[in-house]
């Protein structure tokens, strides 16, 4: 059996913990919980002029969840808030095989394509993305 769910790129992304921490001053914040494993992602966002200016996260979760939060932090700054808000749906579609892996600004999320066949783990990737979308929804 292959162990393709944890390529080095995902492990490195999780270990990078990019964006981990809090914003000062605080931004809009939302927390999402996984009912399956109890994982929790809190994402803080500061937006201005329709673009994300800063993003930070605190994740208590698995490698996939932490890697997704780090990927989110990589792409967030300068991205249109509407695009971040649409990200959960876009990545969910990729995981379900309904769309291609993203390219361009969101290419970092292509690393999660191998999660697609593991339906029980889709929520791990989406947890911080949903928190970001919910935080922006409070604007």
């Amino acid at each position: 059996m292959s162990d393709d769910l944890y390529p080095e790129a995902i492990l490195r992304l999780a270990q990078s913990a990019r964006g981990a921490g809090r914003l000062d001053p605080p931004g809009l914040s939302a927390t999402t919980d996984s009912p399956i494993c109890g994982d929790r992602a809190t994402v803080e966002v500061r937006a201005e002029g329709g673009k994300v200016r800063a993003l930070a996260h605190a994740v208590r979760g698995c490698v996939l969840c932490r890697a997704a939060a780090a990927a989110l932090a990589e792409v967030a700054e300068g991205t249109a808030t509407a695009e971040i808000a649409a990200l959960p749906g876009r990545i969910a579609a990729m995981l379900k095989g309904e769309s291609q892996a993203p390219s361009g600004r969101f290419a970092a999320f292509a690393v999660f394509a191998p999660v697609g066949p593991h339906r029980s783990r889709h929520g791990c990737v989406l947890l911080p993305l949903r928190a970001a979308a919910q935080a922006l929804d409070k604007a």
């Binding site: 059996m1 393709d4 769910l5 944890y6 399956i36 494993c37 109890g38 208590r60 698995c62 490698v63």
Partner: protein
């Protein structure tokens, strides 16, 4: 009777080479004789029960009631005290709604931090609806019910102690005589969630000392979709039905309904009669295996798992095995500092075909009390062997090598 592991394994169609199924505490596998019993019934005896007068319906009713009698004999209780439900969770909800209809402000129920959500949430729902007060029995850091704290929670207002018979996370087996004595001294009922204990042999309920007992078939090598609520006759008679509908009634008029006597009062709608046949067959199948030999086999494997995890931890220094030393259910849960349980489970499956369960195991108050975010659980069944234990330990060690770098 003896314990022939190879012969037992041959009876489980799902057990193919390369699969180490160690998630039986979530759902046990089903042996061929149980599948055959249900298949035969579906092919030659299927008909709705209790109402039809044609021969097929008569035979189906006999099969269904025969399963009830089989369960009752195994539990050493009367057949009319056996309520078939949709599962253990359904049984606990029926108990909560049925008992709770008599209780309200000023009444108290003791529940525990050790329990599965299925024996917590129904009581929380009742508390919100009726004003009943919940008192929480704490868990020790060893993962047992803290029975030293129980007297302080009891009062003349206590109506029920509802706790687990054996933990699905820590493997601790509850001290039922002590619980029963405490309940009696308070004039309260004792309900036990037997999901994990019944999986390894049905208890003698006439001797156990509780007043209500719940379990499901799918954890004891039976089918999904059926469970059992047992209660003493007088307790069942005092309970209101949780669900109304066909089967539950003695007479329905526009002015109201007179409900049937137990157990029919609690079996609304078409019951899981095929699954009842499967449950009876699972009990029959289990009875062909020497219980003492099986218990000894599983206790030995359990100890091997605990020792093996300790050995891995001597190198990794990150593992915390949950639960008491000494007698325990044949399952071992462990938390790893710096490695998420779902990553461990995913890796051991991919690398060694080892099927484990990770997460909070539907016991979040317990995880909070023990100070862990979740745990990885290895649970054994009659078909488990040393090769399964070897594979699990090797796979865990390898996964931790990747995750703890």
């Amino acid at each position: 009777m003896n314990f022939d592991l190879a012969a037992i394994r041959r009876q489980f169609p799902v057990l193919r080479p390369g699969l180490h199924y160690l998630d039986s505490a979530a759902s046990s596998q089903i042996p061929a004789p149980v599948i055959a019993a249900m298949d035969n019934f579906q092919r030659g005896g299927r008909a709705n029960i209790a109402r039809g007068v044609h021969r097929l319906a008569e035979r189906a009713t006999e099969a269904y009631e025969g399963a009830r009698s089989r369960v009752a004999r195994a539990l050493n209780v009367a057949a009319d005290e056996i309520v078939f439900t949709a599962g253990c969770t359904a049984a606990l909800n029926i108990a909560a709604q049925g008992l709770g209809s008599r209780w309200g402000e000023g009444d108290e129920i003791v529940i525990s931090e050790l329990d599965h959500h299925s024996n917590i949430v129904p009581w929380q729902i009742l508390a919100v609806r009726s004003g009943v007060r919940l008192r929480w029995l704490p868990v020790t850091q060893e993962g047992r019910l803290d029975l030293d704290a129980l007297p302080g929670l009891l009062s003349p207002r206590t109506r029920l102690i509802a706790v687990t018979h054996g933990s699905n996370v820590t493997a601790a087996i509850s001290d039922v005589p002590r619980l029963a004595a405490a309940a009696r001294s308070a004039g309260a009922l004792l309900l036990l969630d037997g999901a994990q204990v019944a999986a390894h042999g049905l208890p003698d309920l006439a001797a156990l000392g509780c007043d209500l007992y719940a379990f499901s078939a799918h954890k004891l090598h039976g089918p999904t979709g059926i469970g059992v609520l047992w209660a003493r006759r007088a307790v069942l008679e005092s309970m209101a039905p949780a669900f109304g509908g066909g089967g539950t009634i003695a007479r329905v008029a526009k002015s109201g309904t007179i409900f049937a006597d137990p157990p029919a009062r609690f079996e609304a709608g078409t019951p899981p009669y095929v699954e009842a046949v499967g449950l009876g067959a699972a009990i029959d199948w289990r009875a062909t295996i020497d219980r003492n030999a099986a218990d000894a086999h599983l206790a030995r494997l359990t100890q091997r798992l605990v020792d093996g995890l300790d050995a891995i931890d001597r190198q990794r220094r990150a593992i915390r095995v949950l639960g008491p030393t000494g007698p325990r259910l044949p399952l071992v849960s462990f938390a790893v500092r710096g490695a998420h349980t779902h990553d461990i489970c995913q890796m051991v499956d991919a690398s060694h075909g080892v099927a484990l369960r990770g997460g909070h195991h539907c016991a979040q108050p317990l995880a909070d009390a023990l100070g862990v975010e979740g745990s990885t659980r290895i649970s054994l069944a009659l078909h488990s062997g040393d090769d399964d234990v070897d594979a699990a330990l090797a796979a865990i060690d390898q996964a931790l090598g990747r995750l703890l770098r």
